[in-house]
């Protein structure tokens, strides 16, 4: 992205020596930040050093934390994952054979960054092409010939879907007042936990799996309850391990060591 976004903020931050300017506002998630950071290495995206990238990202997040910027959960999840990746990359290979090697994980990340980068580039090329109404123009006052199949009546798919959605919205509006929105449901917890547990190679406190944006104490309690229920269900399915060392003590979760 050569224009109109804030990814330049970090570029400048890391090209100069340790002048870390942290601003999460312009970013669309952790992958976007990683790509911004990767660009500062000024090499072909397929040749970036993932290890250096991981360190940059961790420094970025640490700085954001230090100056108390609100960080969404997925940025922290990525940080945890990169810390894990870093340790895998630094560790001599050959241990724990059931896990993908650090190189494999790094290759996967490189692939994803390269892919996102590629789609961004072609997106720019698309808009740099010959656009109707900007670069070329249709006849200003056509006398009117239409494609034979063109109907007399016009309606777009958008209108059709919007009409139905609006209708549903109206129909649903009555029930809306009854449903408290603040409950973090069992389904949500299961989905979230399923997505996150893969990163928990080691024991992590249950608290760490709670969603980041818990507005009040009530929501938080529902989140704890549903996440605990979800973890029990996932443990039953053999997808994760649970540990609690004392009554009322903290509960720890990790990815199941044996695949079910």
């Amino acid at each position: 992205m050569s224009t109109l976004d804030e990814s330049n903020v970090v570029s400048t931050a890391f090209s100069g020596d340790e002048v870390l300017r942290v601003d999460l506002a312009g970013y669309e998630g952790p992958l976007d930040i990683l790509l911004g950071l990767a660009r500062t290495q000024k090499v072909d995206i397929t040749k970036i050093s993932i290890l250096a990238l991981a360190e940059q990202y961790l420094a970025f997040i640490a700085e954001a934390k230090r100056i108390r910027i609100e960080i969404a959960a997925d940025y922290l999840v990525m940080a945890a994952w990169l810390a894990y990746l870093k340790s895998r990359l630094l560790l001599p290979p050959g241990e724990e054979d059931d896990e993908p090697t650090g190189e494999e994980l790094a290759a996967d990340l490189t692939f994803r960054l390269g892919r996102l980068d590629a789609f961004r580039r072609v997106g720019e090329r698309l808009f740099a092409g010959i656009l109707l109404g900007r670069d070329v123009f249709a006849r200003g006052a056509p006398e009117g010939v239409r494609v034979i199949k063109a109907p007399i009546y016009e309606a777009s798919l958008f209108e059709l879907l919007k009409a139905y959605a609006d209708h549903k919205a109206q129909a649903g509006a009555v029930a809306l007042t009854i449903t408290p929105k603040t409950v973090f449901t069992f389904e949500q917890a299961t989905r979230r936990l399923t997505a996150l547990i893969g990163m928990a190679m080691d024991w992590q406190e249950l608290e760490r799996f709670l969603p980041g944006e818990l507005v009040d104490d009530f929501t938080r309690r529902t989140a704890v309850a549903s996440t605990l229920s979800a973890s029990l269900e996932l443990a039953r399915q053999g997808k994760l391990d649970i540990r609690q060392q004392a009554a009322f003590g903290p509960i720890y979760l990790r990815k199941a060591t044996r695949t079910p």
């Binding site: 009117g144 109907p151 309606a155 798919l157 649903g172 509006a173 449903t179």
Partner: protein, 221 residues
């Protein structure tokens, strides 16, 4: 159609003059209304003699399917008079469907086969007779059959032309409630309690048989 330009045919060969012709051609083509000399003069490079440029353009289009014509001192492209017949029988003014018609069409698409009474029940208002007729006239809705309930009411469904117009492979490709939400078309909060509402169809006849229709025009917009 200035006869004067024929006196200086040399100029037409020159590249600069040809570039003016190209510019005038593009301008006259893209303009939403006929352009006068002053407008062309303002857009073309200084030194372009508009009468000559327009004259050359007029001549080069003289025998083509489209001609450059002068109307009230302004120029515009028009279909050659002898080819007007090609356009006449196909000229049609596209008309937009009303909001009520689009909504009815959406309900027919999502709930087919559906009776008129069911549509009214779902929409909460009675539908004017013209709405379904119009959808049938547009070629998007058709009579699908009859329902096996007392009175054997006619049911409606969508046509092949409907699928074609909206680029759908099948009716099953219409996004469901969750997908509408995911796309951003439906407020995310709303329909989470709608899982049961999904299967309205099966019970519709019961309800339709029991409930009086909302008849007032005041039920919704």
């Amino acid at each position: 159609m200035s006869g004067g330009s024929e006196l200086v045919p040399v100029r037409e060969a020159d590249a600069e003059f040809q570039s003016y012709v190209r510019m005038a051609e593009a301008l006259l083509f893209a303009a939403v209304e006929p352009l006068d000399e002053a407008t062309l003069k303002a857009r073309l490079p200084q030194g372009a003699v508009i009468a000559d440029v327009v004259g050359a353009l007029t001549r080069s289009y003289a025998n083509r399917g489209v001609n450059l014509v002068e109307v009230g001192g302004r120029w515009t492209f028009r279909t050659a008079p002898d080819l007007k017949y090609l356009l006449e029988f196909v000229q049609q003014e596209p008309r937009r469907l009303s909001k009520a018609a689009v909504e009815t069409l959406a309900i027919v698409a999502y709930h087919q086969p559906v009776t008129r009474a069911e549509i009214e029940e779902i929409r909460g208002v009675s539908i004017s007779k013209g709405t379904l007729d119009l959808l049938i006239e547009a070629g998007w809705a058709k009579i699908a059959g009859r329902k096996r309930t007392p009175g054997r009411p006619v049911t409606y469904g969508t046509t092949e032309a409907f699928l074609e117009h909206f680029s759908l492979k099948s009716v099953g490709d219409l996004p469901g409630i969750d997908e509408l939400k995911a796309t951003g078309l439906l407020e995310a909060r709303i329909a989470s309690n709608d899982a049961s509402g999904e299967s309205e169809d099966g019970e519709a006849e019961v309800r339709a048989a029991e409930l009086p229709l909302a008849t007032g025009p005041d039920a919704e917009g």
